[in-house]
Assembly symmetry: C2
Homo-oligomer: 300 residues x 2
Amino acid sequence: MKCRRCRGPAVIEVRRHNAGFCRDCFLHHCREQVRKTIEDFDMLQPGDRVLIAVSGGKDSLALWDILRDLGHDVDGLYLGLGIDDYSDESGNYARAYADARGAKLVKVDLPTDLGFDIPTGSRVARRAPCSACGLSKRHLFNQAAVDNGYDVVATGHNLDDEAAVLFGNVLRWSTDYLGRQLPVLPAGNGFVRKVKPLVRLGERETAAYCVLAGIDYQVEECPMAAGNRHLGYKDALNAIEDQSPGSKHAFYFGFLEKASPLFTPEAAREQENLQRCAQCGTPTTGEVCAFCRLAERARR
Amino acid sequence: MKCRRCRGPAVIEVRRHNAGFCRDCFLHHCREQVRKTIEDFDMLQPGDRVLIAVSGGKDSLALWDILRDLGHDVDGLYLGLGIDDYSDESGNYARAYADARGAKLVKVDLPTDLGFDIPTGSRVARRAPCSACGLSKRHLFNQAAVDNGYDVVATGHNLDDEAAVLFGNVLRWSTDYLGRQLPVLPAGNGFVRKVKPLVRLGERETAAYCVLAGIDYQVEECPMAAGNRHLGYKDALNAIEDQSPGSKHAFYFGFLEKASPLFTPEAAREQENLQRCAQCGTPTTGEVCAFCRLAERARR
């Protein structure tokens, strides 16, 4: 197989594009996909200070690398989640990337800085670990961005992630989540802008990007995620994608184009009814937001 | 395991209801599910003459049996599709059911009565076999109902079928199909009412119904359906259902309740732009409807 771009020998095939790429052209292809995403969805403006949520995995490190290559002003924030060796190792990959490139990486450690870890938070809040973790990440990344003057938080959600989340939302027809599942959420209500510039790249591509760009990353899945529904949704969509390459892209981008506008008005109305958390000021449906309640219980 | 209803020994478990049933209570359960569906969606009125589309498979024979038990006035129509031995065998099961119960079954044979069969129709129209077959069935069942004074056509689409069709429509966000994927389509525009009273029963349940009710049916899948996308969608949803029983029900009925109303206005607008087929009078987007074009080409 030949590289689509330079006609040299290909090292990777991307079936849904019906194309092969050599190393350099594949890295170029990934950058172009991200550049196009940022442009199409108006994700970043010149001069924006971007805080990227860095986990040490393939997606966030690939995103960091590409955003730097594209000339954006990006610092990283690593959250130590307190998930045993997994968190330590993940943090080391993030640190190694930043140090080798002279990039700025801030670390917030849940056990040290906030007095609890995700396994405890999950148990006391009676939430699935991934739910407690997602809640904490959303809160803390936003908080860090607000406190340190960043305009936008960028996350490494890729096409596989977004398609699987969409599938879960559609299976339950969670119209409120469907109305807010967008690659850009504008700033407002105490939140900075949130962007997902990797939505045109699959996870096989972000992994290949890291390998071909010489970026070491945490290869293991989080041990607390094993057997969660999200992975079941990914498996189901992988089977569909295998049968018809391009299905995930059509599912996700078709949603954005044709269905999302039908769900956004209701979600927007629900957002209007939010009040401010009495402890941290975050918009919430109750008096105290879910994160503050989780953190308070976990610290006891 | 005990029967949920009579506490006797159960012969079948239905995981999504978290219940077991003995033979008699399972048959009762199936009838109740159909009765409830007909009532909830206002499918049939007293005195309605119902034409059921009978394929000789588990779904249509179970539906026929249940509608008769519930006291509806139902005749059957079997379409001979000309798919080799498969069609002959299927027709024999339909005939045997009708003869043993003194029920009225009309047969229309595509090769004899219309001059073509599905394999030929599929080939000349360059449609997938299931597409050519579905098109022909929709047309001919409606035509037979109109010609013979029936008020409604009932089909044996079950929960698995409808969830898989919905999944396919959602994967492509086919908003026009989503707007019309309802368990009842009202009469109008030359079409009689169409109802799907089995949407609360899974295909494992309709098969068990036939076995426990002593109804012999065509067990083989249609040989032309092998490897089609619809079966891939079923496999994917089966994996999800296995992980979380009740997922298919929540997906389909959640759609009807929460999402379908968002898609129906556009679909209705599209229906308004239809004209009448110059040959058969069926509403169509072109001058001649897709069925008449297929039939004309296939007869050459």
